[in-house]
Every structure is written in structure tokens, then in C-alpha cells.
Assembly symmetry: D3
Homo-oligomer: 161 residues x 6
Amino acid sequence: MSNFSHWNEEGRPKMVDISQKDVTTRTAIAQSTISFSNELYEAIQNGLIKKGDPLQVAQIAGIMGAKKTADIIPMCHPIMLQGVDFTFNYQQQAAGYDLIIQATVKCSGKTGVEMEALTAASIAALTFYDMCKAVDKTMVIKETFLVQKTGGKSGDFFHEK
Amino acid sequence: MSNFSHWNEEGRPKMVDISQKDVTTRTAIAQSTISFSNELYEAIQNGLIKKGDPLQVAQIAGIMGAKKTADIIPMCHPIMLQGVDFTFNYQQQAAGYDLIIQATVKCSGKTGVEMEALTAASIAALTFYDMCKAVDKTMVIKETFLVQKTGGKSGDFFHEK
Amino acid sequence: MSNFSHWNEEGRPKMVDISQKDVTTRTAIAQSTISFSNELYEAIQNGLIKKGDPLQVAQIAGIMGAKKTADIIPMCHPIMLQGVDFTFNYQQQAAGYDLIIQATVKCSGKTGVEMEALTAASIAALTFYDMCKAVDKTMVIKETFLVQKTGGKSGDFFHEK
Amino acid sequence: MSNFSHWNEEGRPKMVDISQKDVTTRTAIAQSTISFSNELYEAIQNGLIKKGDPLQVAQIAGIMGAKKTADIIPMCHPIMLQGVDFTFNYQQQAAGYDLIIQATVKCSGKTGVEMEALTAASIAALTFYDMCKAVDKTMVIKETFLVQKTGGKSGDFFHEK
Amino acid sequence: MSNFSHWNEEGRPKMVDISQKDVTTRTAIAQSTISFSNELYEAIQNGLIKKGDPLQVAQIAGIMGAKKTADIIPMCHPIMLQGVDFTFNYQQQAAGYDLIIQATVKCSGKTGVEMEALTAASIAALTFYDMCKAVDKTMVIKETFLVQKTGGKSGDFFHEK
Amino acid sequence: MSNFSHWNEEGRPKMVDISQKDVTTRTAIAQSTISFSNELYEAIQNGLIKKGDPLQVAQIAGIMGAKKTADIIPMCHPIMLQGVDFTFNYQQQAAGYDLIIQATVKCSGKTGVEMEALTAASIAALTFYDMCKAVDKTMVIKETFLVQKTGGKSGDFFHEK
């Protein structure tokens, strides 16, 4: 089945041959959300963490994680990333808060950076969890998905809500 | 605020001193879920992937990812893992399917393996996504959370539904 | 001695300057063979391993290993691999079986991928060994060599039997 | 089939649970051999490489490779190595020379270091190949095998010639 | 010469056998200093970097770097670190400022953590340099040394000024 | 403040977007110095280390370290290095000796290799320290700085003494 481009004729996974693909500018944005208690939100906002901020550590871990994608996801190609950035937004919910994490990744290459953006967002969420788990053991990482991608032969993609 | 054990007195993150903690047997189970289309489910089940199986790659990536946790999550301690395994269960939904991924991690040490289990489950989900994204671009990784942990001073924990 | 391009004038190893070399499409195929007992062969073939297959793990480890080459072999240049795949063939011998492992690696760059192919084949063989060593402690990894390479100034190379 | 301890009940690979195994002193010796031309041997011996020596780079790469074993071989447990060393011996053959590489690895732990020794020997051989391939493209890495291991429940093992 | 414990009888480097050494609590403190311009100091202090702080990134990189020591320094043993923290102090000089970086590392093991502390301090200094080099290209990393170590057979050590 | 190109609008660090920068040939030379006792110098020079040489290990570690820069320094871009080499010079001082280490790094890319050269020089110095610390515990790593860089929009830079 030709759509499953990751599998070779023997049914085993391969790193797909991209040597014939064009070099284009490619971007991807991925989002992950983590939900937690009011207690944790207030601890962060009220300055009980003096100069610190879990988002600092999450962003740094996410950027370093984007660079490790080809080492973590077995069939990913190594890619020379040209830019990685994050936005973080807190949203009050009926019970507790959500933190919306978006990772934006850019490169110029023969394959897209969707997995790099998804990996960056996931690692940022996991790092936020690690930094705060002493206060709130009930955190849940919720939807993690590709928001959009541009560049490449398959065209642009925008997640439909 | 003493609960934020990851922050030092200057408000910067530190690797917490665990030298006085006891060595106990510790386990953690984490779960992640990925939802996808009927088309993708049928392609997998109908043997269109001859000998292959995205779950094989996901499990291997998840186990290797568990071993990389201290390299990925900035404040995690290096841990000598003593066992990692996975279960995968497909569940039919109103539209499409869910794949329930559970990672179980075991060690004997001075700190728990929650982050190792969460990282393993997340990387398995990301890898499944990578293996199948040529067929289904609308996959979403849903709830990722700690199901349970045992061992250590803070006692056992079980996620309440 | 100019042929030893890895050594600088002080006799210490260097990463050779390839900035003046041309970017060309380069491929390399390397082969490794592992020999083992009839008992192990039959266990694999008779489905005593239900859905599993040591070749799956070997192939995934080999592909991930190809990406680690510049981290493992001290003087290798980092290379953006564009494709990696494997073939595996069992051959019955007078006593036991041989598994012939071939790794094919492709890139477009200023230096060849011989070491990436050799490293991929070696790691696949080592992984097969690890997966099966509980059954057969007498396995031997036999000839590992470069089968062919194409591209680059030094021209194509084909191993003569 | 209980002997295949790397596979779980679903037929997928797992990192075996070693939490109930005893901590013992464990050693392993692995051997790899690389054969090459008289021309290459003479270049090395006649001091055409002033202060340098491919064996230096091979030994360092092999020691660093031993430490990477759990990152390279998917189901290997992380292990705190307590000592790694090498011996190298040249042997004249009918045509050309053989270099016999032996890696000795020691640890105190719950699982053996066979894979660490085999990985160390293989990476040393691959590194020797890389350092010298500009002079001799026909090198072949020959038998790579476990010479002996001591410690652990399964007892000592000595390779029979 | 027995004092050069890193070299084997052939004159090649080895990972020293520490299997006979005692497990003791070990600590090490290392210091590095980086000097830079008044302009850079003022930019940092006057809040021109809104919520950010080069010290945050330096500390996180230093902690992650401590965990990579055995991967970076060829003959270092892998060590299970049990705690890493930093202090940073700015000191006005005749021309410009010095930033004094101290890394404290703790473990319980068979070998010391001097190299982990020195590596952590060096990587923190390099990271500060990277974060600020767009403003000041003339930064110099000055004395990097072991301030003290405790634990182990060779006894405690305190750097004499 | 636009000069702090590593910080995004929220004050958190980002990997700067270099997609619009030109590909040029870039070089950087960095220097580090380590000072040590006469006793250590004589032990090295008098052949008490038979075939070995701390500079061999330092150079290999430095080259491998240059390749790890983007993994060590959080905001560094991955770069395809095209050449790395070292020079080492001993200088007698009033008390003891200095070893002057210079690392030269070359690439063709969209961003410079200053951090790669500085990281290579620092890791070479740390490795020399590790190899010799059994003989001399009072070694100090002294000035580490960028000697020169060429290529890129910001122009060439030469360190003024």
C-alpha cells in the first residue's frame, strides 16, 4: 500500500528516500495543552517562585528537544533546524487552568518539520509537568496536535477544529 | 515555597538533592491515547502493512525514549531503569478509533520513575503518529497522564477517573 | 604521508576539511553476517515469537544507528542522511544458519556514507545478537565489509569477492 | 517460549525486568578482527604517521562506545560501567595482516556486560576502518564474538574454538 | 608510572577499573568566571531583557551538561548524579564586570564528581557567552578550577588561592 | 532590545530564525589555556607515558565535542561541520607550564561556528585535566576566548590583545 511510505517491501520500517524531493522553506506549528489545579496556578502567579518560571525551563527543554527529534523518533530524517520558538497562554477553566503551548519550527529542506514541532510541544509539556509535580500530581497533558504546516509537495495543512 | 522543590533560593531551577532518600523499588504506569480515522485503522488491520506494525516501532521508540528521559527533561536525575514494557489497545469510537498506550517502568532507586513512564508513553504516541501520518493527517494525541506509581516516601498514587 | 588524510601535521587525528569538495549524490551498501544455531533459527521461524521478529528490532536499531555515526566514529563528519533501508536473508549452512544483513544508505553531500552503512550493518547485527542471546550464546558476527559505494571524487567502488 | 526473554506476551520487544536479579561483579571480553593490506600495515609501522596511531583513536572510540551501548542497542539496560580496556595484536597472514581487537568490560550490577564488550570491540574495529580507509578500501571486519563472561546467575561462559 | 592511572600498559588510555573502590558520598564544587563589558551588564540589569535572564539558560545548560559528562570526557565513568546546583555572583571590575559561576555536584558512588562539576561550570559559562555574544564579542572566560572536593580515598581537597 | 537576538518578545529564549541569512563559508578559532606543575610537564615529556599522550585524547574529545555543540548549548543551531583541527603549544612559565590549545572549525552555512570552536577548546582543556588530575590537582584552565572568526554578515572579528 503505497501510502504507508515508512514501510519497505518486506514490511519493515525504513527511513524514506527523500533524495528526489525539492528543498523548500518549511514551517510547522504544533500545540499541546496541560491542565492543572488552581493551587498550582496561584503558586506560579503569586511569585512564590521568586525569579523562576516553569515556562522558562519548558521552553528551553522544548527547543533542545526539537533538535533531538531524529534521535528520538526512529524514522525521522536529520534536519538542520533554522528557528524554534514557543508561545504559552494560560486559560481559566471551570476547574483549574489550562496552559496552551504552541511550538513553531522552521527549516529549509527536503522534508517537513511536523514531527519536530510535535516533539518540541510534547517535551515542553512534560517538562512543565516535571517542574510542578511536587505541587499537583493530577496534571493531565491534553490534546497534542499539528496546528498547521507549510511548504513541501503535499501542500499546506491547517487543523480544522 | 517549599513544595516547589525544583527551585533553589535564587529562583533558578536545580537538580534536587536526593542523597538522603532511601533506595526502594519504584514503579510507574503512564497512559497516552491517540485518535485516528477508520481508514487508518483498516489499513493497519487488513494487513496492508505486510509483516510490519506501527506498534512495534512505537514500543521500541518508547523503550529507548524511557532511557533518554534524563537527557530530555532538564531536572530529571539519571536512573538505572530495570524494566520497561507497553500495552496497546484499540477502542472503536463514534468516529474513528482510539489507541490506548500504557507504559510501565520499574527501577530500584532514590527517586521515582513517573517522568520516565510519561516520556515513554509520549514518545510511543509521537512515533505512531510519525509512522502513520502519510495516511491520516488529522490524528490527535489525547490525554497523557500518570495512571499510578508505587514506592518512595510520598507513597503510592492512583489516578482517579 | 598524504594518503592518511585523517592525520594532521602533528600526527594527531583531525576532522578532514571537506569544504572544497563537491556536493554529489552518494550511496553506500555494507554487509554483515551473523551465524547461529538451528535451534535459534527454528524458534524464530516456527512462530514461537508470536508477532515479533528480531529483524524488526535489528532494522530499527540499524537505522537509528546510521544517524548516530558521527557521534560514534570520532572523525566522521555530520551528514544529513536522505534514506536508509535494509535487506535480510537467511542461508542454511552445514551447521546452523547465516543471516546476511545489508544496509543501504543514501545522502547528497560533500563526503561519502561508507561509515554510515558499515555502522548501520554492525549495529543491526549486534541487536540481533542481543535479542537472541538467551537462546544461543555461540553466535558469531562474521564478515562486515563495504559492498559498494557510488558518488564522490574517488569514484565508484565495488567489493571484489 | 520462555527462553526469548526479550519478547512480551504480545510478541513485542520489552526491556526485561531485572529487578529481582542479584548484584554481582560481572566481566565480559569480546573480540573483533580486521584484515587489511601489507601496504597499510607498513605505513602504520614505518612511522609515516608521525606521533599518531589508529589504535589510539580506536581505543578511545571503543571506550566511549561501550558507554553508549544502552543508547545504541534498543533493549539493553543502562549500566554503570566500572572499567573498560583493550588489547590490540597484529598478526601476519598469507596476504596482509590481521589486527586482533579485544575489549574487556567490568561492572557490578544486575545484568551482564556482554553487549557492552561486543559493542566496544565493534566500534573500535569500525573506527580503525575509518582512520585507514583512504589507504585501503578492501579492509574486512571478520569474526566478532564473545570470548568469555563471568558473573550472574547463568554462570560463566567461555567461547569454544 | 603508576600515578597516570588513565593509561594502560600499552600507553593507551583506558577507563580505570574502580570496582574495588568504596561507595562514599562525594561532592565537588567548581568555579568558572566570565568577564564582559559594562554595556552588557547594564542591559541585563536594566530589564532590557523583559522576563528573561541569561543565568536561567546557563544554569539549565550547566545541569544538563553535568549529566552528559561521561559522554563528553572520554575516560569518565558514568555516574548517577544525586544533586546539581549553581550560584552566580556579579563583581564590578576596573573595566567591566565579572560573573563568578560556581557549580556544586553531589553523588554517592565509587568515583568522584570533579569532572562533572568542572564540566557543568564550563558549559554554564559557554552558554552565558552564547546568549550574550550579540551584544559583546569580547567576553573572555577566565579561571576555571576545582574549588573543593570531599569523599573518596584520596581525601578532601581545597583549592589554595 | 533588538541586540539580544536570543530572546523572544515574552522574554524567553528562542532559537533565532536564520532562514533569511546567506550561506557563506565560515571559520572560527578559539583558544583555551591550561596551567600545571613542572612535575606534570616532566612526566609527559620524559616518556613516563609510554606510547600515550594526553594531547591525543584531548584532541579527539575536542573534535567530538565540536559535533555535540548544538546538543550542549541550548540555543545553538545544528551545523554541518566541514573541518575541525587543533594546535597545542607548551610554554614555560615562572612556575610550571602553560598549554595553549587552539581549535579551528570550518563550515558552510547560515550561522557562524564561534560556539563550536569555543566548545571544542573547552572540552579539550577539560579532557587534558581529566587525563592528568591524578598527578596534579592544582591545574587551572585559564583564558578561553574567540581568537577570530570569518564569514557571515557581521563581518570578520579578530581578538585584540
